[in-house]
Symmetry: C2
Subunit: 468 residues, 2 copies
């Protein structure tokens, strides 16, 4: 009963969540509704029906298929559809011209052969990476139109007329789509791409800062889960970056179809955004490795970590500050400050270096009292045995599969790793080294943002634009 009642609640949650995540979705839905109603008038209103008649259906189909969420996607599909229809019409007309004279059987054979040939070739062409990226839909429409016209030409006399009618109504459909997507509350792919880069810079900044801070707060409170928690701010921060390749590329592709909506007229460098995305992903991998230090099975004792807390946190704050500055300059579409790579970062790294140097004893591992801390994780050959015994019963009842999994994991970890008595400073060394690596990668990010600012013609840095 409770389940029954919760069903509408669930539906309502899904409905409202989609709208809250991006309110433009509601507007887009209304736009589609209006566009469809508009093209329906072609059929319903008497004077319009006289002109286009039955073919009004093609306009309806076009609107349903072409009107996409962003202006770039709509343009891409609309132009592909128009151009595909045009090409197919021309080719079909040519074939019609060739087959005009001979007898019916010859025509049937010729039509069959050309349908087969063009079908196979067009399908094969769709596998070419360049065609697939930009013109896939155009080829589909080409094939569709070609077949429709060629096959109808067998029974209908005036194929040219069909082709022209179809082209007109598709043009009307595309026109309505472009009107709705370019002029009524347009959503630009280019802007989405730009904003997503700003968002990614910000989330990376937050993610690494959070990550280093968490490394230095007491580790006892942290549950040792292997699956990253979805709401963990660190994970959330870099996750947005890691899996963004396909989204970035699609947005850049659609953006390249969009007209430039600002003062410069040259081709906007969307490819540079894709490059920046790639560099950010590489930066993200270091963030993942840094996060891995938090989740690692061998941990440096708290007392040791505390020695390096301040320089590490200062260093990461500097890195994070640079990323935030880059994000804010991108957001305002201005070049970043010449001081973006400040002396502070350099100084904080030097402080970290000094701190490490001042504690040489730590990097000498054996026979130190701190070994006691690790004693609970020493070599445990019985664990391996235990694990094997369990594995030999694969038909373990399913009911406690989760219990088993939970139990299995620490056991396995013990075997693989913690039974070794590595120097306890080794994991910290890895952490510090990754932090330094982060600073090194930062420089590539700065370079790409700089390059983007240059080729995209962002305005020059000025003090009153301010660093916030």
């Amino acid at each position: 009963m409770a389940k029954m009642r919760s069903f509408p609640v669930k539906i309502w949650e899904t409905v409202s969540k989609a709208g809250r995540e991006d309110p433009r979705r509601v507007i887009h839905s209304l736009k589609v509704g209006v566009a469809l109603t508009l093209v329906s008038f072609l059929y319903v209103l008497e004077p319009l029906f006289k002109d286009v008649g039955q073919n009004a259906m093609w306009a309806v189909i076009t609107v349903v298929v072409v009107l996409e969420f962003t202006a770039g996607a709509t343009l891409c599909k609309g132009l592909n559809r128009g151009f595909g229809t045009l090409c197919a019409g021309s080719l079909a007309f040519f074939i019609e011209f060739v087959t005009q004279r001979p007898g019916r059987v010859f025509r049937a054979v010729f039509i069959g052969a050309s349908v087969f040939l063009i079908g196979a070739v067009a399908t094969y062409v769709r596998f070419f990476p360049k065609i697939k990226k930009n013109y896939d839909y155009g080829v589909v429409i080409f094939l569709l139109t070609f077949n429709l016209i060629t096959v109808s030409s067998y029974r209908v006399e005036n194929v040219l007329h069909i082709a022209r009618e179809r082209l007109y109504t598709i043009a009307i459909g595309c026109g309505v789509c472009l009107l709705m997507s370019l002029l009524v509350c347009p959503n630009w792919s280019g802007e989405d791409l730009h904003n997503s880069m700003v968002y990614k810079l910000e989330s990376l900044a937050k993610s690494i800062e959070e990550c280093v801070k968490e490394y230095f707060i007491d580790m006892e409170t942290k549950a040792d889960e292997d699956e990253p928690d979805k709401d963990d701010p660190i994970y959330k921060g870099y996750r947005a970056v890691l899996d963004s390749k396909s989204t970035d590329e699609a947005l850049a592709m659609f953006a390249s179809w969009e007209p430039r909506h600002s003062r410069h007229c040259y081709k906007y460098p969307w490819e540079q955004y894709v490059k920046l995305g790639a560099v950010l992903r590489r930066f993200g991998y270091t963030a993942v490795a840094l996060h891995g230090c938090l989740e690692s099975e061998i941990q440096t004792p708290k007392s040791v970590r505390a020695l390096f807390k301040d320089p590490c946190i200062r260093a990461v704050q500097e890195v994070s500050k640079v990323l935030m500055e880059l994000a804010s300059s991108m957001k305002r579409r201005r070049r970043c400050s010449p001081d973006v790579l400040s002396d502070h970062l350099h100084e904080s790294l030097q402080d970290l270096n000094a701190a490490i140097k001042s504690q040489p004893r730590l990097f000498l591992s054996p026979n130190r009292p701190a070994n006691k801390v690790l004693s609970s994780m020493k070599t445990d050959p019985s664990a391996l045995l235990e694990w094997r015994t369990k594995r030999d019963h694969p038909n373990h009842p399913k009911g406690d599969a989760t219990d088993r999994k939970a139990m299995l994991r620490p056991t396995l970890s013990k075997i693989a790793i913690t039974s070794l008595e590595f120097s306890e400073a080794l994991p910290f060394a890895a952490f510090a080294s990754l932090l330094v690596e982060t600073a090194a990668r930062l420089e590539l990010v700065i370079e790409e943002v700089e390059e983007l600012g240059r080729v995209a013609g962002f305005r020059e840095y000025s003090e009153d634009g301010g660093v916030d």
Copy 2:
């Protein structure tokens, strides 16, 4: 002239490359050609034309749009198309029933309103993640059919007839598609997904092994490029894994539409493949970090590295062997050997530990003669100044932009990183720690492969199945 002649060569290369990469593409193209020719017969042959007539066009459209590369994708689209048409037909018939009585104006208004409402609602529904994932195409077709039928109902009397005819011909089209994709040389998404996992395990194994080996060969021969070389086997190995999220998910989605083509009848656990893919990506991030150690600006001197060469290489070979064993067991669809996590890995890690312990002096950084090696990379405040000066001339002539970039990079790196005199063993410590981390992550991979073997009902491990 040479350019003109090279154009056909280029075309031919593109054509043959697409075929060589995956010969099934050629077969698929021929299949599409045959399917199109088959449905064209509906229109061309007299007895068939009598039955379906003008509506044969819908069969042609269906084939062009529905016949996809893999069986799963075709089924997904075909069933979505069929079900969408059916739903739309029912709803349109209901609306037709409601508007039967009243006058023309009322009908026009009612049709306009329902087109708007259904258009907006259906578009909004497409934003729901669950609908978007599985039924996006179905909703589009629903909208398309609903509009066609509702709008035609204004002028045509027998809408039920239109709807039925359309459904028949679409069913014929879908039938031809399913026939071609399920029975004639079918390409299964599920098999692609399975093979891609095997391939990924193998490439990760090769990638990390290559990476560690390269760390210990002489570093002088290596050019210090920041952009990873596309043909670098290390980069190639993990790249296949990193950006695989969307492909994996699409394949798993299509595979879930495919009928099971083996003995068990229960739902095949495609989701487990997606999980395994996620774990492999996480493993891949460690591989990236390990690769980062090769490209890092601060490097441990060769003499120091040589001390740890053997245990490191042994350890990575053990890790790589485990991955290869997992790949080979997945390839044969059998559970992996109970000895997959062998004592050898454990031993090699202990050897590495012993080697690190035996050289405690190395982790004491300051005032050692090896500092000489790093002397060329010492603090260089002039570099920062030089960099700033250059940045202040953003309108630098474009011609030497690449020269400038090449020059800028080492300079910047010097500022950020190498001007610090970190302990030279620190980067090695990071490398060793990441290697140990790799072994720890390996365990998660084993667990997911095990789980996959269990839920997918792979056959039990047997000695004669052999470890190769």
